[in-house]
Symmetry: C2
Subunit: 471 residues, 2 copies
């Protein structure tokens, strides 16, 4: 698995003309200390490897180092040596050959040998991982500290991060296969939830059903992100589900649910959202909103192919949603163009259309060096402004929401208010929202959709009908 | 809930003669930054509050401060002010009164008002939380930094931690009720697992079933610790289940499973272990080992009451296990006393008998200042050496394991080897182990067992029999 990723990285070093002679890239993996749960000896959660380290070395255990010998094109893994006494706690000692075989690396040593191994191999140029994640704005937390390096060794802290990020943007065939399987599993889990929901359930039970499936059938110990299970008005809260709003509302008979849940499978993230009425039958209003989002998603799928700008796709989704809301009578008194210029789309879809997906749910490489971020409501939240390339994996997640603070702000803004038919809008106060989020691969000719869930209204209603037939 | 805890803390300040005039204790809660998942904008896991902060202020949201006015006996909560723009992500702004009502504190302000509020209230003496957790050996990570305090204000960093730790050792009636319910839920989840296991399942599916139950029926989003689901030989690995050994072995027909799993419920931890043969019928050898552990657990329950030393309880468990293994012919050629002196008990039970339980699974207060830690195999791992008091909650978790490295070391040590009947021992190589772990409250007259699971062999076998009857 990681062999294919490393081959790409070795190639990138050469193609981009970076020094490889006598050169090594040294990375530190995630540490146990990063998972400490305050001052207790338990962990916040089971350890999960840092994504760049996992990309290159595959191992999901803490306190490792790894090195890429860029001249010999070899991978060297350094693992923590366990004590004899630790065996009662952690299991029998594993020989170094175990790690070499399991992770397909060229050499394995103990971490206490790092200094010696680097010295013995005579490196004169050392790359380490440093810089800012363009998606989160956070700095890399795992740069290998190598205080023992001789003065004569050149240290390069600028090259590695953007090079690796760019490699991760275009998935290898094996990565594609992992993501395809991960999305299939989370898709099936969403259908499992759909087959078991009932009004009167609490939102958190939908989260529980999703996790039950992915844990039981996939062995998934981690979600890609906190589950979002918003019912009724909560569907309009984009990051609902956090500790302050922990998916804890009972779901009423007439409500929509917005279920944004994805499990991490074999290290790869998924990010899938379904929206449907809890009773399995769409009302006219629910149907109207849903169809608008589905139209937007289909329009984007039809337009996606290599070379297309992601910013244009965002605008296409907004435009499709505006047209649909005009047909529905919720927007009026203007042309699509006028409404686009007044950012009317962002009143209803106040987030970006989608983002890169991979080892991280908001995957790296969204903004190349010097890339200009979009300005303006909604579109400013786009996590990438790139042109599509074959091998990219992205989420496509248009939505229509009725978020009171945003609606009130729009009605108070004459430039937007003129286009809103408030008589119609009133009916949708408290509706919540609809988001449809699929994970797709950009192919040479278009997209392959990894998300396999009922999307047409008839298909969703049929799942519920068949369910009742069995009772 | 936290009102009762705070009343105890105010009382302790007075009783112990600490300064309360013009004095305030200021605590910081857990921060979002502590849950950052490397450099990504997702979290390691859903936020969980730091235990001392939760004890005093109840709130399970990040980036708060709290203050106890020790003279007026008031609680003041400081919450992060949300921006208007954040509402699309996190939900509608909540007024300060919301927090005051929900958490039953006396005053609520925004965190940016902390300096002003402390100044306005004219404190001259400030306690903050600093020191080492005697259980983990780790330092408190959340001490409130108050760089703005005037020079004239005295800062006391020594008093608060041991005072609060001691308060947490003896549970309030409401804490007892929470722990009782938490243990009932995790007990029921263990029975749910027992009703669904089959040989051929993977260990991780048992973890999945346990979490499915506690998440679905209890809304538990956190386990108290990483699930340990060891089958066959893995049952002898005490902290099995970590990222390097992630409960991933298929379970064979003849094997025992050791299932150490507990969910966190309303903030309180549970810690429960069941051990049984996967096919639901005990072989003679499995019965022998199991009965030894059950005898030890019963002996400890019968002896526990206020005033009794926990170290003596550990020794009682070891002694009971040694006597049992002598009866079974696995130990010979000596008296119980001789074997106790040679630490033969620790060959088979290489861990402490149990630990305090509360907001943390390894709860605080296990060692009072100046307390002497036990030395010697097994007993050195005791997490407390205290005498029992009514209101303490502890785990009682004796075990018998067959851990190859420990057995080999014992056989290589003439002082221990003389007592081991290796002909009999051979039969148990690869057996794994048995641990029985209950969570109990020390009462005025003995214990109340919060753990309600089948413990007698007949009861376990009956669960499996009834299960088949339904198929
Ligand atoms: Mn997404
Ligand atoms: Mn325990």
């Amino acid at each position: 698995m990681t062999r294919g990723c490393r081959a790409k990285v070795f190639e990138a070093f050469k193609n981009q003309g970076h020094r490889t002679a006598g050169a090594v890239a040294v990375l530190q993996g995630g540490t146990s200390a990063m998972f400490e749960y305050y001052d207790s000896d338990t962990d916040i959660d089971v350890f999960r490897q840092e994504a760049y380290f996992r990309y290159l070395f595959g191992i999901n255990e803490p306190d490792c180092f790894g090195a890429l010998d860029l001249q010999r094109e070899e991978a060297i893994l350094f693992v923590e040596q366990q004590s004899e006494a630790s065996q009662r706690w952690n299991g029998n000692l594993r020989p170094l050959e175990f790690f070499q075989q399991r992770y397909g690396v060229d050499h394995v040593y103990y971490t206490h040998q790092l200094q010696q191994v680097l010295a013995d191999r005579g490196y004169e140029y050392v790359y380490t991982l440093q810089g800012t994640n363009t998606d989160s704005g956070l700095a890399v937390k795992t740069e290998a500290q190598l205080p023992f390096l001789a003065e004569s060794v050149t240290r390069d802290r600028a090259t590695l991060l953007p090079l690796l990020a760019e490699c991760r943007v275009i998935k290898t065939p094996l990565e594609v296969e992992h993501l395809r399987r991960a999305c299939l599993l989370s898709s099936q889990a969403h259908v499992y939830v759909m087959r078991h929901v009932q009004s009167g359930m609490n939102e958190r039970q939908l989260e529980a059903l999703f996790q039950a499936f992915t844990r039981y059938y996939g062995g998934c110990r981690h979600m890609s992100y906190t589950c979002i299970c918003g019912s009724g008005p909560n569907g309009a809260i984009l990051h609902y589900g956090h500790a302050g709003a922990p998916n804890d509302k009972p779901i009423a008979e007439h409500e929509m649910v917005v279920l944004d849940m994805g499990a991490e499978f074999t290290g790869y993230s998924t990010d899938i959202t379904l929206s449907y009425p809890i009773r399995g039958i769409f009302s006219d209003d629910q149907r109207m909103v849903y169809q608008g989002v589905l139209k937007a998603q289909k329009a984007v799928f039809a337009a996606m192919r290599p070379g297309v700008s992601w910013v244009d796709m965002h605008r296409l989704a907004e435009r499709t949603i505006i047209e649909h809301l005009m047909e529905a009578g919720l927007l009026h008194n203007g042309t699509v163009e006028q409404m686009m210029q007044a950012y009317v789309g962002a009143i209803f879809m106040p987030h970006g259309l989608g983002h890169l997906l991979g080892l991280n749910v908001h995957d790296v490489g969204g903004f190349l060096e010097g890339a200009v971020r979009q300005k303006g409501p909604g579109i400013q939240y786009l996590r990438t402004s790139r042109n599509l390339k074959a091998g990219m994996v992205l989420t496509v997640e248009p939505g229509i929401y009725f978020n009171d603070p945003l609606l009130d702000a729009a009605l108070a803004n004459p430039e937007q208010a003129q286009f809103i038919n408030n008589d119609v809008l009133q009916r949708f106060r408290g509706f919540g929202g609809v988001r449809l989020e699929d994970d797709v691969l950009v192919t040479e000719t278009g997209v392959e959709n990894f998300t396999i869930v009922p999307r047409e209204i008839e298909d969703i209603e049929e799942v519920f009908r068949l369910r009742q037939a069995r009772n």
